[in-house]
Amino acid sequence: MTSADVTADSARALVLEVLRTVAPGPALDRLGPHDDLRDVLGLDSLDFLAVVTRVSERTGRRIEEDDYDRLADLDGWVAFLAT
């Protein structure tokens, strides 16, 4: 899956799928596009790293620690992956 093939919808679906493997539950079902993932889903640094690792593996795209600031909410992830 190259960056060119990633649409906003598929990016959102992918991130939600990965989040489901880390923090399933009602908070995820109600997640809004601007909700801070760490706050709302209760992700700690181990969880966040698991999300980053899994999305990285599935998209074949290396995500750097410097990118983390852009990945605080779902919209941020979508914007990052769809570029």
């Binding site: 923090a23 539950g25 760490r38 209760g42 700690d44 640094s45 181990l46 790293l49 698991a50 980053v52 690792t53 990285s56 593996e57 290396r62 995500i63 750097e64 620690e65």
Partner: protein, 412 residues
């Protein structure tokens, strides 16, 4: 039955993963045991061939009771092991005499119907209670208007963490029977309550018995974090090291320098740990705390420590911790940096004599010589048992952590 926690008295065998005839090696997971807090995968202590399983699934035995006989594979029947075999040399106990022999069917029906057999007048020969007697007693309306809950239903409800008063019954006069107790109640609720109880007991005991003293120090970690950043750029994402692992490594190395804080208070004396085994507090989804143990944390590099931390965190959350990960801790580290608090002043987990806390890393003004810079700062705290050490020792320990974090190149 291994001791899978300082307060554990008994364990229940949930599953056997080996059978007689299987070859096992030291460290293989051979059984799953339930403690009050969670299910633990038990690792084998010996290598050999399983000769006999001594405990059945569902059986609860005290810590120390033998679970299985492992031999060296010698030929049939020769029980080579010198380990005491549970129950082998006890004479069979004669059955107690029964006053009114009741057929098991009648007994079962009475249990199902919530009928107290002692209160039923038996119409069978010799005054024995018959099935018809039980059925008649079952349809009697409740004397005080309260809904009857059968003993079996009551037991099921208790097992599933339900209040029988909230159930609606399908029996006569709304009596609640076993079939009325929903089976799909998440066992998690009951499990969490038990785990909470165990944590509560340990913390209460700590505060009652351990005279705590507390120290804290702010540690500037710009150098350590920039070393880590560079390190992480050079490794695959899956091998990325978190600051938490770096802090754990620093604690492990500091414990080498100040071994008086690494060990246990037993029988009015300090027993040094047989190695540096760090318990690291992990919060569980849905509430609750686990503290998986990373053994010999000072002998492995920061990458290996991260790997262990990641695995233990995962296993703690999915309830699949291994027996080696729940016992033997010599020192506990609580890192609540992710929760956004500045300082953690924790409660020691007895019989350990110390607990290290880390708060969130914050960028703060910091004096660098005569200038003020902005630097990432983390507050490290120590809660220590005053029977084992004094403030001077505790201070030495925190200073050691500070010094080690200023030499990140020595960390891996």
């Amino acid at each position: 039955m291994p001791a899978l926690g300082a307060d554990m008295d008994t364990g229940t065998l949930v599953e056997w993963l080996v059978a007689p005839g299987d070859t096992v090696h030291r460290g293989d997971v051979v059984a799953v045991v339930d403690t009050e807090k969670s299910a633990i995968d038990v690792e084998c202590f010996d290598s050999g061939v399983v000769e006999r399983l001594l405990v059945d699934v569902g059986q609860t035995v005290p810590v120390g009771a033998p679970l299985a006989v492992i031999g060296d594979g010698a030929a049939d029947g020769a029980a080579d092991s010198t380990a005491p075999v549970l129950g082998a040399d006890r004479p069979p106990v004669p059955p107690a005499p029964v006053a009114h022999p009741l057929s098991p069917l009648v007994r079962k029906r009475a249990a199902e119907a919530g009928v107290d057999l002692a209160a039923v007048a038996g119409t069978g020969s010799g005054g024995v209670v018959t099935r018809a007697d039980v059925e008649k007693a079952a349809t009697r309306p409740p004397a005080n208007g309260r809904v009857r809950v059968s003993p079996y239903a009551r037991r099921l409800a208790a097992e599933r963490g339900l209040d029988p008063a909230t159930l609606s019954g399908s029996g006569p006069d709304g009596a609640v029977h076993a079939a009325d107790v929903p089976a799909d109640v998440p066992a998690g609720a009951l499990r969490r309550a038990a785990a909470r109880g165990a944590t509560a007991a340990l913390m209460a005991r700590s505060k009652r018995e351990v005279p705590h003293y507390y120290l804290s120090t702010e540690i500037e970690i710009a150098g350590a974090l920039s070393w880590l950043r560079q390190h992480n750029r050079e490794v695959p994402v899956g091998a990325r090291v978190l600051p938490a692992a770096l802090l754990l490594r620093a604690v492990a190395l500091a414990a080498r320098e100040v071994p008086e804080l690494n060990g246990w208070w037993v029988d009015d004396g300090f027993v040094p740990g047989d190695g540096i085994h760090l318990a690291t507090a992990v919060s569980l989804r849905g509430g609750g705390l686990a503290a998986p143990v990373l053994h010999d944390a000072d002998t492995i590099g920061v990458d290996a420590l991260m790997e262990r931390l990641r695995g233990a965190g995962e296993r703690a959350r999915t309830g699949t911790l291994r027996s080696s990960e729940v016992s033997g801790a010599t020192l506990t580290v609580t890192n609540l940096g992710d929760q956004g608090v500045d300082v953690v002043v924790g409660v020691i987990h007895p019989p350990q004599v110390a607990l290290v806390g880390f708060g969130a890393t914050r960028r703060r003004p910091w004096a660098d010589g005569d200038t003020v810079v902005v630097a990432p700062v983390v507050t490290a705290s120590l809660s220590a048992d005053h029977r084992a050490t004094d403030g001077a020792t505790g201070a030495r320990f925190l200073r050691a952590i500070d010094r080690i974090l200023h030499r990140p190149e020595e960390l891996p």
